[in-house]
Amino acid sequence: MSEQYRNNFLREVEANVEEGEWVKRCMQCGVCSGSCPLGPHWEHPPQELFMMIRAGKRDEVLKSSSMWMCTSCYNCIARCPRELPITHIMHGLAHYAERLGLAPKNQQTNKFAQRFWNNLSKTGRVNELKLTLSFYFMNGFMAGVKMSLNMQKVGLGMLLSKRLNPFEILGGHGCKDSKGLQAILKKAREIEDAKIAKFQG
């Protein structure tokens, strides 16, 4: 449990979230929040998230959809007067929330990110055709058909200019030692889980 205005959650973030150790450096100027092109879509903008982390609002932060809004435009990083790698922290938070199963389930970015990861981690390479299709059909069969029809022309064009290989649907190619890759990923996950476990309960 994270107590309000104690530093437990801040420490958890520092330990488990990519670039999390920077959170304490924020001086609440708000330039990140103002610089974000998707700003209005954030329930809690970055600077507020940082304050919430310091205030120990663990659930509110991790369950928030806010950090999923980040499109990696890097405006915030460029302008942050305190050198905070905000983009990375946002992705780090999102990732961490997802790992804990706290991330909002139906959040579009999250859904796509999960598909991307599943697609990639299976063979070590992204299968673009499968990824695209899984993205189209992410929100149901009808929505997928509709989207596919919409993108028909683009798809044909890519096919003709050999930017799209229809045979990838059969499985496609992977990296040289995908078993090795799986082992690496498994080990990494074990390490991360152990780290996270320290902050559970």
Binding site: Q4, Y5, R6, N7, K24, M27, A55
Partner: protein, 751 residues
């Protein structure tokens, strides 16, 4: 006496003066009306040839008093510097041709203007004496430092390093003051990362091993009398009277009494401490875990409450910011983090004030160590059943929070140890303003005054301590002159002057040390201190005429004048700043300076050629403060802003030096209007002689009655506050007066 004086007038023809004015006529007038023995003209008076011409006459003993009729007295000062002669500058350029149109119509009045200025310059110089240094000089290369805290120690050491003697009088039994109570101090060098040793032990060691420094512990100054160069201080007990050249008051501050903050539970529980309380806990822990006073358990979380009882308009609170407290809280939060990074240390602030390079670096380093910061307002610290909780509103997250905490540190403010507020004493003394005094005293009670015991015990007519400025501090009023002091030769340094941290106190102590040395050097040769630095003239007093009215002793802005048993003024020349306020105040005109007197100005006023009533040429007199109004008039000239040719302008040292006799003489001799131009008065006064402008305004408010008795219109005398930038406004004021005179008519006293 005038026969010993040899007058000479030197008229410059350059810069268009000769094209616009009849120089021969001016020279003639200098001789006939100005009674000069020599009147010479030169095409280019300020070049080496012109200067040589004047110097030759001086060397030949032809002249002892000279009038230089050329440009403004502010211009060409290097060229027109002549030793051993009295000099009057007549301003024909900025004051005449540059403010008058070059037209046929204007020619006559412009020429008359110049002629009058020649007469005025001659009259002025005729009544001048070359000032010689005060006979009062004393030279003692020894500075008294009152207070043995960090500021006092630093000042004494810096004085000794410059080769002078210093004596420290410290009222407690040990040196080091508040700084010695600090576990560590904030860093002074980049990268401003970690708290550092407070340095006091080293400083004391240096003081003790320095043979130029004497230390008296458990001692106070029970009486101070004299002046720069000859201060006699009684050091009690048992030390006796010692003589000093100058004094530094480094009496420091008292921490605000936190028991006045019941809402923060200070005094209710030992687990709420002020910043010095935390220093004591940190000292005890000495790098280990800091323990909670109530039960001795290690503090696991600590909250710092900034601006406790400060920056607040609540009764009993301090309205100002003490400046150092944000830095101090971060430093103290670092004590916890350095000993144990898992301790939670949070600073609750409304504005985090850590300025400069040091401030911002230290803030960032505090964050890197894990200190957290919350912008919020603490409403209450509650102590119940052995638990302490802080109630605050987080202004970022916009929510009320109730946070339990092991220890709460209140960042309370600094209250100056400035002794007795002489201004209150003076106001109370003045019966006429009794009501006002009450108001003022009431006002002052809002600021919790440290039990007022005098620090210096000055035997001064105007009270025993340095006058206070705002918030009880003895600060200088001037931005550009932080060591301006209202008691010459006595300089306040450190937190008694202004709230400050140790880094600033180092600079302040060193700066004050310089001023103290300068004061004793100046006293040694009888020179004035700032702002008339180097002036050798001093008030000369003719006792026979004195009526013991005490106006001079009360009005002197610098407390320079005492009273003897019979009530006669006692001038302390080395304390005098040469503003002439006493001269202006004296109703019987017994106070004067060798080169500036009721006569030098009065004769200049009377010397003008007064046209008769039917000439339709009014005459306006302007008495202008030489520091602000006169430069503004000069700049009006430089930018060719025209004004009435009927005006005659006389620069004065300070409007405070304006004696009302000048006004009545001027009206009696036929001037139609009089304008006084001084500096801004009041709380944000810009008068460098503090009260001069205010006194002048006060005196002129009384002159209205006199005017009415004479059946003269009150509009004829007007007093203005002029800023040095008012180059547009001053011509307008003059022209408006000219228009007023046109409307109300000429002065009936012309003859």
């Amino acid at each position: 006496m005038a026969d010993k004086k040899k007058l000479g007038a030197y008229i410059c023809k350059g810069c268009g003066i000769s094209e616009r004015l009849d120089i021969d006529e001016l020279a003639k007038i200098a001789k006939s009306d100005g009674k000069v023995a020599i009147a010479k003209q030169h095409d280019f008076l300020c070049n080496s040839d012109g200067v040589k011409m004047i110097q030759a006459d001086i060397d030949a003993g032809e002249v002892s008093h000279i009038v230089i009729a050329a440009c403004s007295r502010r211009a060409k000062t290097d060229a027109f510097r002549f030793d051993n002669v009295a000099i009057a500058r007549t301003n024909l350029r900025e004051g005449v041709i540059w403010v008058r149109p070059d037209t046929e119509d204007a020619k006559e009045t412009t020429q008359e203007m110049a002629e009058d200025y020649i007469r005025m310059g001659c009259a002025e110089v005729k009544f001048m004496t070359l000032p010689s240094a005060s006979g009062e000089q004393g030279r003692v290369d020894h500075v008294l430092v009152v207070g043995g805290g960090f500021t006092g120690l630093t000042a004494a050491l810096e004085i000794a390093k410059a080769g002078y003697l210093a004596t420290i009088v410290e009222k407690t039994g040990a040196l080091g003051g508040t700084a010695a109570q600090l576990y560590k101090r904030t860093p002074v060098r980049s990268p401003f990362a970690d708290p550092q040793d407070n340095g006091i032990a080293d400083l004391i060691q240096q003081i003790e091993s320095n043979d130029k420094i004497t230390v008296h512990l458990n001692a106070t100054v029970s009486k101070t009398e004299g002046a720069p160069g000859r201060f006699n201080a009684d050091i009690s007990p048992d030390i006796g009277t010692k003589t000093f050249g100058s004094i530094i008051q480094a009496s420091g501050f008292t921490p605000y009494d936190a028991t006045q903050l019941p809402e923060f539970s200070y005094g209710k529980t030992p687990d709420v401490v002020d910043q010095l309380g935390l220093e004591a806990l940190a000292k005890e822990a000495n790098g280990g875990a800091i323990k909670r006073p109530s039960d001795g358990k290690e503090v696991k979380n600590v909250v710092f409450v900034q601006c406790a009882g400060q920056r607040s308009e609540k009764e009993g609170h301090l309205s100002y910011c003490s400046g150092h407290c944000c830095m101090t809280s971060v430093k103290q939060a670092m004590y916890f983090k350095d000993a144990n990074p898992t301790v939670d240390a949070m600073v609750i602030y409304t504005e985090l004030r850590m300025p400069g390079a040091a401030g911002e670096d230290f803030y960032r380093n505090g964050q890197d160590k894990g200190v957290t910061f919350t912008k919020g307002i603490v409403s209450e610290v509650v102590s119940e059943a052995g638990k302490v909780s802080v109630k605050f509103k987080d202004l970022i997250l916009n929510e009320e929070v109730d946070l339990e905490s092991d220890l709460v540190v209140l960042a309370t403010g600094m209250v100056a140890n400035s002794g007795i507020d002489s201004e209150i004493l003076l106001t109370e003394e003045d019966e006429k303003t009794e009501e006002k005094a009450e108001e003022k005293t009431e006002e002052k009670t809002i600021i919790p005054i440290v039990p007022a015991e005098s620090i210096l015990n000055l035997e001064y007519r105007q009270g025993p301590d340095l006058p206070q400025l705002v918030n009880g501090f003895t600060d200088s009023h001037f931005i550009c002159f932080p060591y301006e002091t209202r008691r010459t030769g006595i300089y306040a340094a450190g937190p008694v002057r202004r709230p400050m941290d140790m880094a600033q106190a180092t600079e302040d102590a060193t700066g004050a040390a310089l001023k103290a040395i300068q004061a004793l050097e100046n006293a040694g040769i009888g020179r004035a201190a700032h702002p008339r630095s180097g002036d050798l003239s001093f008030p000369i007093f003719r006792k026979e005429g004195c009526t013991q009215c005490k106006r001079c002793t009360v009005e002197c802005p610098f407390g320079a004048i005492n009273e003897d048993e019979k009530g006669y003024p006692q001038f302390n020349e080395a304390r005098c700043r040469r503003c002439g306020t006493c001269m202006g105040a004296c109703p019987v005109r017994v106070i004067s300076f060798e080169n500036y007197s009721v006569e030098t100005v009065g004769q200049a006023i009377k010397s003008v050629d007064m046209p008769d009533e039917f000439d339709e040429k009014p005459r306006l007199l302007v008495l202008a403060c030489e520091n602000d109004a006169y430069p503004a008039l000069d700049m009006a000239g430089m930018t060719r802003r025209e004004y009435s040719a009927f005006v005659r302008i006389i620069p004065v040292r300070c409007l405070g030096s304006v004696n009302t006799i000048w006004i009545s003489d001027a009206l009696n001799s036929g001037y139609d209007g009089i304008i006084l131009m001084g500096c801004q008065k009041g709380d944000d006064y810009q008068c460098h002689f503090v009260k001069g402008s205010e006194m002048a305004h006060y005196r002129m408010s009384k002159i209205g009655d006199t005017l009415q008795q004479l059946q003269l219109e009150t509009e004829r005398v007007q007093t203005y506050e002029i800023a040095i930038t008012d180059m547009e406004r001053v011509p307008k004021i003059i022209n408006d007066m000219a228009a007023t005179i046109e409307k109300i008519g000429m002065n009936p006293f012309k003859f």
